[in-house]
Symmetry: C2
Subunit: 351 residues, 2 copies
């Protein structure tokens, strides 16, 4: 297979972890006879510095004409305490999601047996957790009309959803559930919100097309609780944009392996793959960041092309590295800590 | 002091736990020389059954003319899978909050040393946790315009906040922080939402009036994580209605003492006091429900009247009961389980 992949390294540790994912992907391509052409492009604070905006047209052109996007991380501390700054890295993220039609954010949370101790939860609570969130990513209150009135004294944000938006997300959820534990949980606040009632009735109407999937409906506040109590009781969860933002982050810390969690954002066309962690500015250039989440995001990318063995090869070598202690300082637990680059080299060499 | 207290027992185990709180409050009143007149009124499914709506005018009259409201729990399984039912117990709750002007929901999360083992979190994560959420309760997306257009294919919910609404909630937050650890965290999503930017700028402008309070601003997704990782790093948190709904429930399970957590909803006038747990329909009439959260809600009620010794007396007797094992089956851990009524009797007798 010939693959064109846009490479958006971004800010902070982004470039370093992206380098390792490229190395590992190239090793996979060599082994399985694929050819990857990488197309680097600017994003985030790096793009603001270079051309004045976080998701330049040129970057969009490159992404649009690629088969997938591999993304590092964005964000820089100089934007942190000024959420009203005119140009912010996050705006690029939202613009990119919308422009590329990335409506489904796939966020798995799973455990690595060797890392269970890192979880803030007790072992018996977290063991066996293997869940996936599908978060709607291009609608809801993020993209509704927002503004001020009454001389700035009143602010508003509109949350809007159409049935079609819910259907395409829910369809991915049902399909994903069919390849896994066949359980789907629709997370909403249907006792208060009209958009949630639309979500619920739309999903209810789709149940008959997937008779094997066991569907449940839970309020977002109840899920926020159960994620901490019994995370291993979930399989696939679908939800709207803002609930997904909050719950996927909550879910990410319960595994204790946050530095290892990959994600994908899918549309009808191009997919984007990125680690869930941020740009970790303090670690920039120090060769200490854990590249595994980005490497596993590359595994999701291969799997999304239907290249399941290729994805498997990456997952296997990451597991081997974890078992052998070829890890960065966040996982070294007092033992030898390898550098970002050294972990990447080891993974690539052992594919 | 002469006190008129509206008594809204509600559904499920509501009446049973309320009975114990009344008993304990009466014992406190007798000891400290107060006189309480209890005014029972209908609410929830019980009110729907009796008069066709969950918060009848008559109940509102009683509440309005009382000094405080002591509330049990509402909700009945027959409403559970039909969020679009015309009349639902929760509507009564929202109507009541608005009608009584209860704009500040006070939700403490603290630990009982003897119950740390019950937490899903590891002991070192949860030890020493003592935080309070102030959730805005009568604004935001709960009360904005909502509905459908395009023949029902599009749904919308409006989130609206005025500066005055933020100010009155934040003021309570600053004042509360001054009586505690002097730390205030404003939880928002100011990198995406205009209402959040209004929240943040309003709180920023108030900082100068409380120079001793250390204020921080965190995004809601980050707080959802940190609550699980380091709950004991928080003191007072203020936030808008929907974020508060999700985060206070998340916070409630980390303590491991959910069955013991009280809450208050305050306005400029009357306060309402209730346990955070639900109506627990399966336990109705079985004399097994834990009354302590409701009893501690009565403690918050006394404290809100400025009767701090009275509140203290209740907290002390609850701690004694916990230490002596005078507890219901949820906390009995294989030891003797007392009934709801027996726990209430013991608490009242030992005030
Ligand atoms: C940076 C922010 C706009 C973004 C979001 O809220 O979607 C982030 O939190 C995420 O989850 O990717
Ligand atoms: C029942 C529901 C409407 C209510 C809310 O969302 O406010 C409940 O979850 C709560 O937190 O009191």
């Amino acid at each position: 297979m010939k693959l064109n992949i846009a490479l958006l390294a971004g800010d902070g540790i982004g470039p370093e972890v992206i380098d390792q994912a490229v190395k590992v992907s190239d090793a996979v391509a060599a082994k399985f006879g694929h050819e990857i052409t990488w197309k680097p492009a600017l994003t985030g604070a790096a793009a603001i510095d270079a051309v004045g905006e976080p998701y330049p047209d040129e970057t969009h052109e490159i992404c649009k004409n690629s088969d997938a996007v591999l993304f590092g991380a964005i964000g820089h501390p100089r934007f942190d305490n000024d959420p009203s700054a005119k140009v912010r890295p996050e705006q690029g993220l939202l613009k990119m999601r919308k422009a590329l039609g990335l409506f489904a954010n796939v966020r798995p949370t799973f455990t690595f047996p060797s890392l269970l101790d890192k979880s803030p939860l007790k072992k018996e609570r977290i063991e066996g957790t293997d869940l996936v969130f599908l978060r709607e990513l291009t609608g809801g209150i993020y993209f509704g009309e927002k503004g001020r009135r009454d001389d700035g004294e009143t602010a508003y944000d509109n949350c809007v959803y159409t049935r079609a938006e819910v259907q395409r997300l829910a369809k991915k959820g049902f399909e994903l559930a069919m390849t896994r534990g066949k359980k789907l949980c629709c997370v909403d606040k249907a006792n208060v919100l009209e958009t949630s009632r639309l979500w619920r009735e739309t999903v209810q109407a789709m149940e008959k097309d997937y008779p094997e999937v066991e569907v449940s409906y839970e309020f977002v506040d109840a899920v926020a609780m159960r994620l901490v109590q019994w995370p291993n009781s979930y399989d696939v969860l679908i939800t709207e944009n803002l609930f997904g933002d909050i719950l996927t982050d909550e879910a990410s810390v319960i595994s204790g392996s946050m530095g290892l969690m990959p994600s994908a954002s899918l549309g009808s066309d191009i997919g984007l793959f990125e680690p869930i962690h941020g740009s970790y500015p303090q670690a920039t250039g120090l060769n200490i960041a854990n590249p595994m989440a980005t490497v596993l995001s590359a595994a999701m990318m291969f799997e999304n092309f239907g290249l399941l063995d290729e994805g498997k090869a990456i997952r296997t070598v990451v597991n081997e590295a974890l078992n052998k202690g070829i890890v960065t300082e966040d996982l070294a637990d007092g033992g030898t800590a390898y550098g970002t680059k050294e972990v990447g080299d080891w993974l690539a060499a052992n594919i």
